[in-house]
Symmetry: C2
Subunit: 399 residues, 2 copies
């Protein structure tokens, strides 16, 4: 009988759509709010914190990622939040719902920070972003990160770039005060969103191999360095089809696919995980932001010689575009013409282009092939030459 | 010096964005409202209707397609329109603008009929669709054509299915009366939108080969059966990468690409047109309608054994979908698992899925590869499992 040892996420059972019935049917025994403390490989048992021992033949690590916290004193004060689990989200929601939060501050400027800045503003709360870098969403081209920043400012988010928090204290006018190297920021709620790292502590106690990425090494069947022990999701590495190397990409869709692959192999139907191309996206207010493949730095690191082109196009035929724009950056390899990656920021239609390009990347196409690829053209959805085609042609002129 | 012999489209010079300056710079001499009546291959001359002769070394046929008219008497009456050229569009616009058109009828139920039904309703004009088939947009699955019909009806379009027009007459209460086998329809304006055929008459006078599609045969350089004579656009065939056969697909984006390929070859830089996968789309009111690749009939005709699956999903994570739906049909080959085609109808995000699938089709991927392909997941733009993935998994269970 398979066991599911849940902790915080499963504790909000009612929020997990269809999961209870699925468990019911499957014969899986779920152990909610249950921490696994030790794996005894000799006996084939998992020891719970309660002391209870659960036997296993096959073991799957799906321990996810843990929030990383900056080395700042005061992050244990009430009103300081992280956003990793459903209870974290509910606790933020409850704070906002209480009506007592007029001002929220976020430390960090990645996906979660962007999405939460929007969520705070939508709830009518003042929002401040505190970040060490000059621009948000570091992985994006500075021109595109600037567009993201403009979108934040346009919607009333207070940006504090190049700012390092030094301490969090109890405030005077507000419950919290963030002391930074550039002054103090008073806030009612503070969200720390400075990233995650693969949660591999239990796995490492039994000596499972960890990659340079600090995530668990797995093969294409999701098996770890130990036979019969699998790993899936944010705690596991994933194969990147463009760099042809194992990387760490803590994204929900990848975790889902890996889970399915591991399950199939465990169930006796061999299935290989084909890897990823690094497609990712987020929304911030009216802006779609997405990327796929490698950026220039990653391309160089993988041995490619990147050639880059940036174009600005429209999501529809120009005559129908109502001022909407898609900014698209393509990266190719100079020696082979192979397409390596793309970034895009813009209106509706932006993520769509990145998905199309992800499929091109998946198959290892060259830029001159994508330049003539067939899209479902009609004026409400694009021009006869799509921004993707135009960017490819511009890139080809550089060769 | 290259010549451009234009007719109706070029006559609306002011409407062709950037074309006049492009001509100016290029040194091309344009001959507007000028009909080429004969090609004298021995002398290498085109004789115009005016009698003037224009010499050539290289000749390009870009004669497009002609409107096909049903064999119905009265289609020459004032108030009967077609929609092929800019003057056609302006004439319809002028009629609507006059305020005298309260009711418009369309014969046909394809792309143009759908788009014009929406245009009429948007202009506050009553719209009727008269068609011989039971459902509009014949190429789509009946379930999906039904959704298109429901969208038309929801927006007040009067549908007259299984109805054959027998004659168009002067009306009594309205300027026009369409007599059908199911009664009479009074209208102020009648649009005939029953399709086009490749315009090859002049090309055939010099014996250029025409395919079964009735379009001009070309090779991958866009050269016709005669050396130094090229053809591009709706008058020329195009290679379909899925059926691996030459077909006729009168779509503007294909024409654009073919023009560029021909121009490159003529200019001395060899370039091959890589073909198409048959991606196409249109918008009707709030519905996006798109398809790519082969439908079941075409798949059978091409020697494949189609396996079909239809799923309904959401354009965003389910929790954010606000009732929006994407209906997606996938077709694969039973013997190889190769993906052959898709159709989709739905909300925002529908065309995006077809474009992604077009890229998969371009590379000849199999269904089990697409089932795990990497998309730029985030809840505003899709679920962790996209409808595309779900459809692939459902399809795989049929093998």
């Amino acid at each position: 009988m398979p066991y599911y040892i849940g902790d915080v996420i499963a504790s909000e059972k009612k929020l997990i759509a269809r999961t209870p019935e699925a468990f019911e049917k499957s014969g899986i025994r779920e152990r909610l709010n249950t921490e696994a403390e030790e794996v005894d490989e000799n006996k084939g048992e998992v020891r719970l914190r309660t002391g209870e021992r659960i036997p296993y033949d096959i073991l799957v690590f799906a321990t996810g990622a843990s929030v990383t916290m900056p080395p700042v004193p005061g992050l244990d004060l009430p009103g300081v939040h992280v956003l990793k689990t459903l209870p974290d989200a509910l606790s933020i929601k409850e704070a906002i719902g209480s009506g007592k939060v007029k001002k929220a501050a976020v430390i960090g400027a990645g996906f979660i920070a962007m999405e939460m800045a929007e969520a705070f503003r939508t709830a009518g709360v003042e929002a401040s972003l505190i970040q060490q870098a000059k621009l948000p969403v570091r992985r994006w081209d500075p021109d595109y990160a600037t567009l993201v920043k403009e979108e934040l400012v346009k919607h009333g988010v207070h940006c504090h770039p190049e700012t390092s928090p030094k301490a969090v204290e109890k405030g005077v006018s507000s419950p919290l005060r963030v002391v930074t190297d550039r002054g103090e920021i008073d806030t009612d709620l503070l969200l720390v969103a400075t990233g995650v790292r693969p949660e591999t502590r239990l796995a490492e106690t039994i000596g499972l191999a960890v990659g340079e990425t600090r995530a668990l090494r797995v093969n294409f069947s999701q098996e770890t360095s130990r036979e019969g022990v699998y790993a899936v999701g944010d705690c596991a590495e994933v194969f990147h089809r463009v760099s042809q190397s194992w990387t760490s990409l803590p994204l929900g869709d990848i975790a889902n696919k890996q889970g399915r692959v591991a399950g199939s192999n465990i169930g006796g139907t061999p299935l290989l995980f084909p890897g990823v191309v690094g497609a990712q996206s987020f929304k911030v207010f009216d802006l779609q932001v997405a990327a796929t493949g490698l950026d220039e730095g990653e391309a160089k690191q993988s041995g490619f010689t990147p050639v880059v082109e940036k174009v600005t196009g429209t999501p529809t035929a120009r005559s129908m575009s109502r001022g909407e724009r898609i900014h698209l950056k393509l990266i190719a390899d100079r020696s082979t013409g192979r397409f390596l990656g793309a970034q895009a920021v813009g209106s509706r239609g932006t993520v769509s282009r990145i998905n199309f390009l992800s499929a091109a990347l998946w198959s290892g196409l060259k830029i001159d092939e994508i330049a003539y690829m067939d899209l479902a053209y009609s004026p409400p959805f694009g021009g006869a030459w799509d921004p993707v085609h135009i960017a490819c042609h511009a890139l080809m002129r550089q060769f």
